[in-house]
Symmetry: C2
Subunit: 227 residues, 2 copies
Amino acid sequence: MERPAAGEGTGRRAGLDRDDVVAAALDLIEQGGAAALSMRKLAAELGVTTNTIYWHVGGRDELLVAAIERLSRDLAAQPVRGRSPRERVLAVARRAWDNAFEHRRATALAHEIGATSLLGLPLEVALAEELEAAGLRGEAVRDALRAILMCTAGFLVVALRRHEEIAPHLRSEVLWADVPADVDPETRAALQAPPDVAALFEATLRSVVASHVPAAPDDPDIPGGPP
Amino acid sequence: MERPAAGEGTGRRAGLDRDDVVAAALDLIEQGGAAALSMRKLAAELGVTTNTIYWHVGGRDELLVAAIERLSRDLAAQPVRGRSPRERVLAVARRAWDNAFEHRRATALAHEIGATSLLGLPLEVALAEELEAAGLRGEAVRDALRAILMCTAGFLVVALRRHEEIAPHLRSEVLWADVPADVDPETRAALQAPPDVAALFEATLRSVVASHVPAAPDDPDIPGGPP
DNA sequence: ACCTGAACACCGTTCAAGT
DNA sequence: ACCTGAACACCGTTCAAGT
């Protein structure tokens, strides 16, 4: 990863532009999370001084936003499939889910710095278009879009933190072993096992989408699985 | 906030115990968020050296967990009201919502360090008890509980970041002004206005709860508002 | 225009020492 | 048992200067 120096001493060109810096930053983030991105580490990776980063993109906050923006562009323009509008709406939400898993560190960072909307904008656009194709307009599109994405965010927040990252004594399943609660032993045992978050997400998503998006002739009336 | 020194020089007693330190830490967090809590600032607040904090509670990570744990205990033991089990289930979720708003900085911190479950454990217990009162057992309790809380988390994540904290150019409503999208002007206009997150939460919550919890004789069949 | 050197004001953490 | 002094290895950011 070391760049060959273009020269020695002060004022020598390193041949970088803003995009190189942002790309390297995104790389560090995807590998080690936001904590792994320090101005000094990034500068070392690029073979320059921290000031070079300030020159090309600005301070750390701007750098983080730029990295999320770059990832957003990389993820845009994936086509959406599905036989009915409702199915395509579901497909967009599932794509949000999949993208978040594939880029979990960047997703977590985006949330931390309040740039979730920036990262998810292409999917918001796709979702709005499919909701219109399903017959919604105006505020109905907005409310359906927000409800779907907020639900997705909630399940994601939990799913992304699955076991590796979280200390054992902070996990709900572990906490339930000792907490005093007036529940059936069978219930307590169930609460000590991790839930199938993906399945719960799919079921909840189907009911939320069904409550906002009218069914096409070939959609099943009761939210179930597609054949 | 300055403590009168119990003496001068090294080795003098400051009269602190672990609880004093954790309480002061929680105070700093609730005022300025996790970023406002540095070991040095907290030590200064208490009139001691940083090492005193290490002695009483340990490093920064342990301190943050201890602060969340303390808040969790403070928030426990609030009784739940409602005429039917389903109404009481809804009431617990609304309490989670209200608590998060009242303690937004601590809630954000709990999420950052993966201690959301620790903070919410008393509410998880209350929710499990009410779900059993509604007739659920075992895995049905767990799945309903997780679905309800993950939904709540998703809407909260968005609602808590409402306008003050987030830079204008990162807000979805602002981004929608310029993004290319093949949607009706009316739809685009709606997407440029902030949604009523609380109302969307209430509606979505009702449908999620209804899908897991059987209705009591006096519950309305179709999710609407209680009289 | 692009980059370096050096410094400032912060961090969390540790070690030895004091009473 | 409880606390301090001093140091280490980090941070982000800024200023003047070099080519």
